[in-house]
Symmetry: D2
Subunit: 454 residues, 4 copies
Amino acid sequence: LSFAALDSRLVGPLFASEAMAGVFSDEAWLAAMIRTEAALAEAEAGLGLVPPELAPAIAALSPADLDLAALGRETARAGVPVIPFLKALRAKLPAQLEPHLHKGATTQDILDTALVLRLREALALLAADLGPTLDGLARLAERHRRTPCAGRTYGQHAAPVTFGFKAATWALGLAEVSAELPRQRRRCFAVSLGGPVGTLAGLGHAGPAVLERFRADAAPWHVRRTRIAGLGAWLAELMGALAKLATDVAHLASTEVGEVEEPYLPGRGGSSAMPHKRNPVSSTVILSAHMAAKGPMIILFDAMAAAHERPAGAWHAEWHALPTLFGLASGALQEARRLAEGLTIHPDRMRAGLDLTRGLLFADAAAAALAPSLGGREAAHALVEQAAAEVRDRGEDLAAVLRRLVREPAAREALERAFDLEPAVAAAALWTDRALVEVERARAALRDEEGSCP
Amino acid sequence: LSFAALDSRLVGPLFASEAMAGVFSDEAWLAAMIRTEAALAEAEAGLGLVPPELAPAIAALSPADLDLAALGRETARAGVPVIPFLKALRAKLPAQLEPHLHKGATTQDILDTALVLRLREALALLAADLGPTLDGLARLAERHRRTPCAGRTYGQHAAPVTFGFKAATWALGLAEVSAELPRQRRRCFAVSLGGPVGTLAGLGHAGPAVLERFRADAAPWHVRRTRIAGLGAWLAELMGALAKLATDVAHLASTEVGEVEEPYLPGRGGSSAMPHKRNPVSSTVILSAHMAAKGPMIILFDAMAAAHERPAGAWHAEWHALPTLFGLASGALQEARRLAEGLTIHPDRMRAGLDLTRGLLFADAAAAALAPSLGGREAAHALVEQAAAEVRDRGEDLAAVLRRLVREPAAREALERAFDLEPAVAAAALWTDRALVEVERARAALRDEEGSCP
Amino acid sequence: LSFAALDSRLVGPLFASEAMAGVFSDEAWLAAMIRTEAALAEAEAGLGLVPPELAPAIAALSPADLDLAALGRETARAGVPVIPFLKALRAKLPAQLEPHLHKGATTQDILDTALVLRLREALALLAADLGPTLDGLARLAERHRRTPCAGRTYGQHAAPVTFGFKAATWALGLAEVSAELPRQRRRCFAVSLGGPVGTLAGLGHAGPAVLERFRADAAPWHVRRTRIAGLGAWLAELMGALAKLATDVAHLASTEVGEVEEPYLPGRGGSSAMPHKRNPVSSTVILSAHMAAKGPMIILFDAMAAAHERPAGAWHAEWHALPTLFGLASGALQEARRLAEGLTIHPDRMRAGLDLTRGLLFADAAAAALAPSLGGREAAHALVEQAAAEVRDRGEDLAAVLRRLVREPAAREALERAFDLEPAVAAAALWTDRALVEVERARAALRDEEGSCP
Amino acid sequence: LSFAALDSRLVGPLFASEAMAGVFSDEAWLAAMIRTEAALAEAEAGLGLVPPELAPAIAALSPADLDLAALGRETARAGVPVIPFLKALRAKLPAQLEPHLHKGATTQDILDTALVLRLREALALLAADLGPTLDGLARLAERHRRTPCAGRTYGQHAAPVTFGFKAATWALGLAEVSAELPRQRRRCFAVSLGGPVGTLAGLGHAGPAVLERFRADAAPWHVRRTRIAGLGAWLAELMGALAKLATDVAHLASTEVGEVEEPYLPGRGGSSAMPHKRNPVSSTVILSAHMAAKGPMIILFDAMAAAHERPAGAWHAEWHALPTLFGLASGALQEARRLAEGLTIHPDRMRAGLDLTRGLLFADAAAAALAPSLGGREAAHALVEQAAAEVRDRGEDLAAVLRRLVREPAAREALERAFDLEPAVAAAALWTDRALVEVERARAALRDEEGSCP
C-alpha cells in the first residue's frame, strides 16, 4: 500500500531516511508492543503481582511469530490493534502464564508506550543528523565570514552582507531548534500506564509501585496530549528552520543568481526531457516537507480536546500524524545535511552580483552619510531616491550621479566613504562570529544529549 | 514501511478500504505510468510521429517487469521517479523503438496523467459506496419520519424533532456533496501533456493534434493546480458531511442517551481491559478521518503557488496529500455505509427522552401560545423562563407550573395546545419529506454518473 | 480594537479593500439583521400571521438607533448577539407589534440570513475586480504572445517560452476560479429559516408557505454547512490562483531577473532605511493573503461536524473565519488587478536572459534532434548532458560544443535547427491563443453573472 | 471595520478580554512604536551617536499626536506602516533632531520590537488569568477527590473514577502548559535591531554596544522566526488544554448527563426562541477558540521559510496571525477561569449515573477477579462479555447474572469484592493527590514569574 508518498517503495526513499522508515515499520511497532508488555510484566513480577516467568516468556516472542495480515484484519473489526495482538500473544504463551498478561493495563497504555519507545529512537536519529548539519553550516559560516554578497529584502538587492553571515543565520536558526531537543525528549519519554480509565485501579495499592518501576509520569496522560502536540510543533519548527535554508539555497542556485550550487551527485537533479538540468533536489525535498508538515501538526492540536477518559476519534487521529512528521523530518534533515556538508559556493558570482545595481546597494549608507550636511535624513533620503531613479533610468553609477548632485566638500568626502564595502563586511563578520558562539553552544548540548542517550 | 497509519498492515485496514489501497499501490502507479506512455505512443503513432509498434510494445510491459526497490533507490537520487522509470522501460524495449519513447513529454506529464487515471478509479470507488449510503440514510429518514425524539442545541434538549428529520439532515448533507462528484470528475479527468515547459514545443505543429487524440485540457495544467486543490476540498467536504453523521451517532449511542447503537459486529468495539464495552468504532473512524483530512487539504492549497513552469517543492508536496485524502475518505465512507445500512434505533428510548426535562421541550411553544394573552412575547418569555427555573429547582412539570401561574381562560386553553407533541412531529415529517426529494435527485444523478463511467 | 491586521486602521487598508470592509462592518451587520427581521415579518404578514404594520416598522429602524457598545456587552453575557438585538428592537417598536417580532425564527436564522446578505454583496465586489483583472491579464498575454523569455523549472532555465504564454497561464488559472463564482453564489444565497430546532414548528402548517415567500432552501441548513466550507475553499482557491501570479511576478521583478516591474506608484515599495528600494508590494500583499487564507479555511471544514440541531462551538467558530477570508481576498484581488493593469514588461531583459545559459535552453531540442542519428534518445541525452557540463565548466556555447562533438552530416544539420527559437515561440503562442479563448469564456460568464445580480 | 469576530464591537467582547483588546489596539501599537524609537535613541545617545535630546523628544509624543486614518492610507501605499509613521514623527520633532531619528534601524526592527513589547503585556495578562484558573481547578479536584462518577471511554461508561480525578486531569493539563510560560517569555523578549539587512552596518563598530544597551539577541532575528512560531504553538497548546476541559464540561452539562452546570449568570445561555435554555456559553467560547486557533498557528509556521534578509509575504503574513491567537486565548481563558471558579457540581447525579449500566462499570474488575479461578483471563473476559450481553438484553444486574453463572466458591467470593466501589475511588484519589502536587509546582512557578515581571 502507499497512500503516503513516504511509504511508497517508488518515491518514499526520496522523502524519508531508511533508518527512520525502520523505526516506524509495522515490525518495529509490534516489537515495541511486545517489549512494552514484557516490561510491564517485569515490573509487576518485581512486586509479586505476576509470575516471574511471564516477562521472559513475552520477551522471547518476536514480530515474526505474529501474522501481520491477520492482525490487520482483526484490527479493522475490533477498532484497535491491541485486542488481536493480545489474543495472538496469549496463543503463544504457556497456559499458566496467559491469565497474567497485560495485568492492570489497557490498550492505550500499550500503544502509547510503544509510541514512546519509537520516539526515543526517532529523536536519536534526528539528533545524529542534526549535529553534522550544524557543523557543516558552521564551517560554511566560518569560512565565508568575509565573503561579500548582496543582501536581499523582498527579492531586491538591499545592502551588502557576507555569505558567512547568511550561513550563520541558517545555522543559528537550526541551533535554536536543536536546543529544544533535550526538552522534547524528556517531556515525551514518559511511559503510559493508567489502565481502563487512567486510575490503574486494577493494580490497587500496588499501582504507584508498579509505575515507579515502569518509569512513568506524575499521572496518566491518556487524555493529556500536550506532549504529543508539542512534539509535533517542534518537528514542524525543525522543518521550518530547514525551509529557511532551502528557500535561500534554491534561489541562490537559480540560473540568474548562480551564487551556490547544490552538491553534485551523478544523476541527481536531471530531467526526463532536458539533458542539461541540475535541479536543486535537496531544496525541493526540504521545501515539500515544510509544506507537508503543517497538515499533520494541526491534527495533533485538534486531538488535545480528548473527551473524558478516552475520546472517540481524537486519539486515533494522532496515528495519522506523528509518524508522518518524523518521516518528513528525516528526509528533510538528510538533504539539509547534504547541503551543509557539500554546498558549492561561488564567491566570484557573489562579488559580481554586488555590482548589478551600480552602487544602489550603498544607497542606505550614502543617505546616512549625506544627512548631516544636507540638513536632515529626510532630505538625504529624498536626494538619494532621486539619484537612484537616475541610476535605473540612465544606467549610470550611483556614486557618479551623487557626485554630480552633491557639491559641498564635507558631503562629498562623506559620500566616498559610503561606497566602501569594508564596513558592511566587517559588520557581517562580527555577527557571524557572535552567532557561531551560540551555534557551538547548541552543538555541545546536542553532544551531551547523545552521550546521555540510553 | 508505514509512516502513515493508512499504509500500515497492522492498522491500515481499519482506516481505508482494501479497494482504495489497491488504487494507490505502487504497482498500480507503475501500471498507470506504463499505460500513460503507451497512450502517448499510440496518439503519436496515429500522426506518424513514432513507429506504430511502440505503443503495443510498451503496453505489453507490466509492473512486475520492473524492480521497485531499485527504482526507489534511483528516485531518491534523481529527485523524480520518471527518470529511472524511463531508463528501466528503455532497457525492456527493442533497440529501434527506444529513441521514440516519451516523445515530446516530460516527467510531470507522465505523473500527472497517471494520477488522473488513479483519480478516475478512486472516484468510482467512492461513488459505489456513496449510493448505498444515501439509500440507507434515506430509508432511516423515511421509516422514522414520525418517530419523535429530542432536538438538541448546545448539547441541551431544545424542542422535539423526529429521528427521521435527523436522518434526513444527514442524508441531505451527504447528497449535497455527492451532487458535486460529477463536476469533480469532469474537472479532474484532463490528461496532462505539455512537455518540458508546458508548450509541447518538441512536437512542433503536431502538438495540438496529439493532444486531441490524447484527450487533454485547453492548455497544460502543470502549474494550474486549482483542480487538485478543489478535489482535495471536495474530499474534505465529504468527510465533513460524514462527520456530522458520526458526531450525532457517537452521542446518540453514548451510555446516558442510548437512542441508537452502531450495528453489531461480533468482536467489534471491545476493549482489551473491559469485557462489556461496545465502542462506536464506525463513528471513531469517521471522526478521526475528518480530523485528519484538513492537514492534507491545506497542502494542496499551498501548492497552488507554483513558481513559473514547474516549482521546486510545491508539486512534490501534492504527493504527500492527495492519495492520503482518498484513503481517509474510503475508510470513512465504508464505515458510514455500515451505519446507514445497519444502525439500530431505539424509539422507546427516544420517547422516554422527551420526558427528561418535564415539559421544558415545549417552553418555546408555551411562550408563543401565551404571548397574545400576556401582552407580548417578552412578557411570555419571561414568565416561561421563571416557570422553567421552578421546574429545574422543584422537579415539577412545566405544564403544571404554568397552569398554576396562568389564570386567564384563553391563555390556559392556548397553553394546553402548546404541550401537544403532534405539531412538532408534523413539522419534522414535512421537512423530512422535502429533504428526501432532494436526496433522491442526488441519488439519481449519481446513478447516471456511474452509468456514464468508462 | 484590532486583533486582526485586516481590521487595523494602521495597516488594514494595505490588506483589504475599503468597500469590502464596509460590507463586513458592525453597522452593516446590524443593518442586515434588521433587514432580515423585516423580510420575515413581511413574508409572515402576507400569510396573515403577523400584522402588516410590523415589517415597515422594523424596516424604519437603522443601526444608528442601536447602542453597539451596549449590545456588545450583552452579547458577551448572553452568548449570541441576537438576544440583546431583539431586546433593543422590541424597545423601539410600538407595544402592539412587539409580540409578533421574530415569529417562528431563532437566533441562527437571523445571523445566517444576515450573513447571506453580506455574502451577496461581498461576491459582487469580488466579481467587479475579477473582470478587469482577467481583462488585464488577457491583454498582457495577447500583447506578448510572441515575446520570448526563459521557461523555468525548479528555478532553473529550462527551455524558451513566451511572456504571453506565462500571462495566459495566470489568466487561465484565474478564469478557472472565476468560472465557479456563479455556482458559489447560487449555493450560498439560501435564506436560513428553521426556528429553534430547524423544523419551523412554531409556524405550523404555514411553515412552507412562509419559506416560499422568504426564498429558502429545500430544508433548513443550520447544521448542514457544506455551502460555507465550500465557499471558504473557493476563496482560498482564488487566493491560490493569485498567488501563482504573485510568485512569478515577485521573482521576475527580482534584481537579478528584472524582466518585469510592479506598476510604479509614488512612494510605494520604499524602505524606511534604503532610499533606492522598490519592493514588490502588490506581490507581497497577495502572497501574505495566500499564506493567511488556509487558516480560516480549515476552521470552516472543522465546523461541518456540527452536533445535533446546533453545536456548542462549531457555529461560533465560523464567525472567526468567513469574513476574514473575504477581507484577504479583497486585498489580494485589489493588488492583482493593479498588476494585471499596470505591470511593466522588459522584453529586452527577457531576450537577454535567453542567452544566460549559452544555449542550454535548447538542450532538450538538441537531444531530440540528435537521437535518430545517434542511435537512440538515451545516447543523445547522454551526449548533450556531457556537452552541457562542458558549457558550464568552460563557458563555451552549447551549439559550439556539440558542433565539435558531432561529425555526422545529417546530425549536424538537425542540430542547427535545434537552436532555432521560432518553434518554441510558435508553440507558446499557440497555447496562449487557446488559453485566451477559455479566458474569454469565463469573462463572458462573469459579465452575465454581473448582469443577473440583483 | 470588523473582518474578525474578535474585533467586532457587536460580538468581540464574547470572544476576547477587554484588557487584551487594549494590548493590541492601534493606539497601543503606535505607542509601542514610539517607545521603541525612543529607546533606540536613548541607547544611541549613551554612546554619543545621537543628541541626548532626541530620546525625550520622541518619548514626549503620543499616539494622539498622529492621524491614524492618514497613516493607514499611507501604509496602503508604502507597503509597511513604519515609513509614514517616521514621516509623521519627523514632522513633530525639532528640525535639528530629525536627522538622527531611527539611526541604523529598519522598519522590521521597529515593528518587531513593538511586537515584543505587546507580547510582554499580553503574556502577563494570560499569566494573571492562568493562576486563578489553576487554583480553581485544583480546588475542585481537592474537594471532589473521592466523589465517585462514571469514567467514560469512546462515550461509553467504562469504569468508576472520581470527579476530583477528572478535575485534576484538567488542572494538570493546564499546568503543563503554564509551566512553559516563563520559557516562552524569555525566548520572545528579545528586542529586534539589525538595520536594513540584519548586520547593523549603519552603526559600524558601535553596533554591538548599542545592542547591549538595547537588550537584544545574540544576532538579529529578522528571518529567524522560530520564537514566533513557537509562541503560536504554545498559545494553541493553551487553547487545546482548555478545550479538554470545555469538551468534558459541555458533555457533563448536557441534558442527559447533568452532572455539572456552568456557573449561573443572569441572562447567560438563553435563546432568542426558547425561554428554558441554559446553554453552556463558556464551553462554547472555549471550543470555538480551540477550533479557530489552528488557522493562525500554521501561518506562523509557514512564515518560517523567510527568504534571504526579508521575505516578500511571509513576514506580513505573521501580522494576520499572532495577535489573533492572543485574542482567542484571552477569551478562552476568561471563560475557563469562570468555569474553574464557579462550576456547579451534582454529586447525586454522578452517583446515580454509576448505576445506569447495572454493574457493567465493574466488568473489568469482575473479569480480573474471576480469571484465577476460571483458568485464565481470556476465559474470564469471555464469560463477563456474555454476562454483559444478558445485562443489556434482559435488564438484570451484572452481579446477579454472574452469581448465576459462577458456582465455584472462591470465584464467588472474589466476585463480591469486584463490585466494591472503594478500590476505584481510592485509586482515583491517589492520582488526584499526585497530580495536585505537580499543579502546585506549576502554580508556584507562575507566581515567581509574575513577581519577576517588570
